[in-house]
Symmetry: C2
Subunit: 224 residues, 2 copies
């Protein structure tokens, strides 16, 4: 791997584990066993590293978020799981760049360059969730007006955005697998009351699976 | 007002407006036109000020959050508005100490003394919201199991906790009146699909009132 890429990978790991505010460029250079001058040759400070990491993240997540906009995910009851897997992928990508979600406000203030990009991502999340909700609700008994649907989508976007922070506030550290699965379940909980019978059955299955995970957190994690 | 109290009031105002991280004890002393030494005589640094402000906040909010635990709020359809007013009061108290909610993770890390208190408040919020949901759902058609209800309450707690941050991420600054009202509406949106007809009518009324507020943000704010 090129030094430039190694710097990015190591920075991301340190930011995620130690918090961005507690990581200096010196820490990054030390971790890589390179001189600060060598690091500086590639990046003129933390700003540039964070800007680059954010670009990587925006590119990856935008791509994922575009999926339900380009074509509906599984909408008939037999494919309703597609939405679960989809949300799982979204949350997993967020987990990989989780330092961005802890101290969101502070980061945006200190690095104004990523503020616009972040707002773009937030809007894209809303559009993706709206597309999913529209499709899911089309086939179920709908008792909602458009405003209520938009409020629902805002709530889902909010839960998605702050789930990792909320989990950290409430619990001792848990395995990413459990944190991400519960995040997906929390999102599905919000659409559950609007779902038809077949889809509600799927929701109950997800609940049961998650309860099993909580009960036996030791079992090996599936490959993904 | 005693100097000690003036320091607290001014600190709170500066933290809310400028952000806690961007406010030093020197800034606070300057704003009050007192010497740093005078400030230091009352508080041995920002830690102590923040600890004291958090205690004030925890005391006030705990009191409010206890209400639905001690006795149910308006549960028959004619009193369902009580829940709206109640949530409004909760969000207004949060607004008054909003610096705590921006950079939540960072604050908790830098001031471990408030971490426990914050978790206590979070649990109390969950209990209060659970009590409200229980009462509301008792009289409506319920199609939810206990796990789903707990997930719902977690989602509501999360939306309550991060609403102010989310609003700031998404919008240019808006009047507190609108921000708080929309927060209440977002919370009610989550219980809406579980509500009976009479309560749903009330929810629609709230939506209409809020749309009116958005349409004419200039009109004078009611006294509260």
């Amino acid at each position: 791997m090129k030094t430039r890429d190694r710097i990015l990978v190591t920075s991301l790991a340190l930011f995620n584990e130690e918090g961005e505010a507690h990581t200096t460029t010196i820490d990054i250079a030390n971790e890589l066993d390179i001189s600060p001058g060598n690091l500086y040759y590639h990046f003129k400070g933390k700003d540039e590293i964070i800007g680059e990491l954010f670009q990587q993240y925006e590119l990856a997540l935008s791509d994922t978020l575009a999926a339900p906009l380009e074509g509906p995910l599984g909408t008939d009851p037999s494919q309703v799981e597609d939405n679960w897997f989809y949300l799982y992928v979204v949350l997993e990508e967020m987990w990989q760049y989780r330092f961005l979600y802890h101290n969101l406000d502070d980061l945006q203030q200190r690095y104004p360059a990523i503020r616009k990009g972040f707002r773009r991502l937030l809007q894209l999340q809303r559009s993706a969730l709206l597309a999913i909700c529209h499709k899911l609700l089309e086939q179920a008994v709908i008792d909602t007006d458009d405003d209520q649907l938009l409020s629902l989508v805002d709530n889902m976007t909010l839960v998605l955005t702050f789930w990792l922070s909320y989990d950290q506030l409430l619990h001792a550290p848990r395995s990413p697998h459990i944190v991400i699965h519960q995040g997906v379940l929390q999102l599905l909980t919000m659409v559950a009351p609007y779902l038809g019978d077949a889809q509600l059955t799927f929701y109950r299955d997800c609940q049961a699976i998650f309860e099993g995970m909580i009960a036996s957190p030791e079992k090996p994690e599936p490959q993904h």
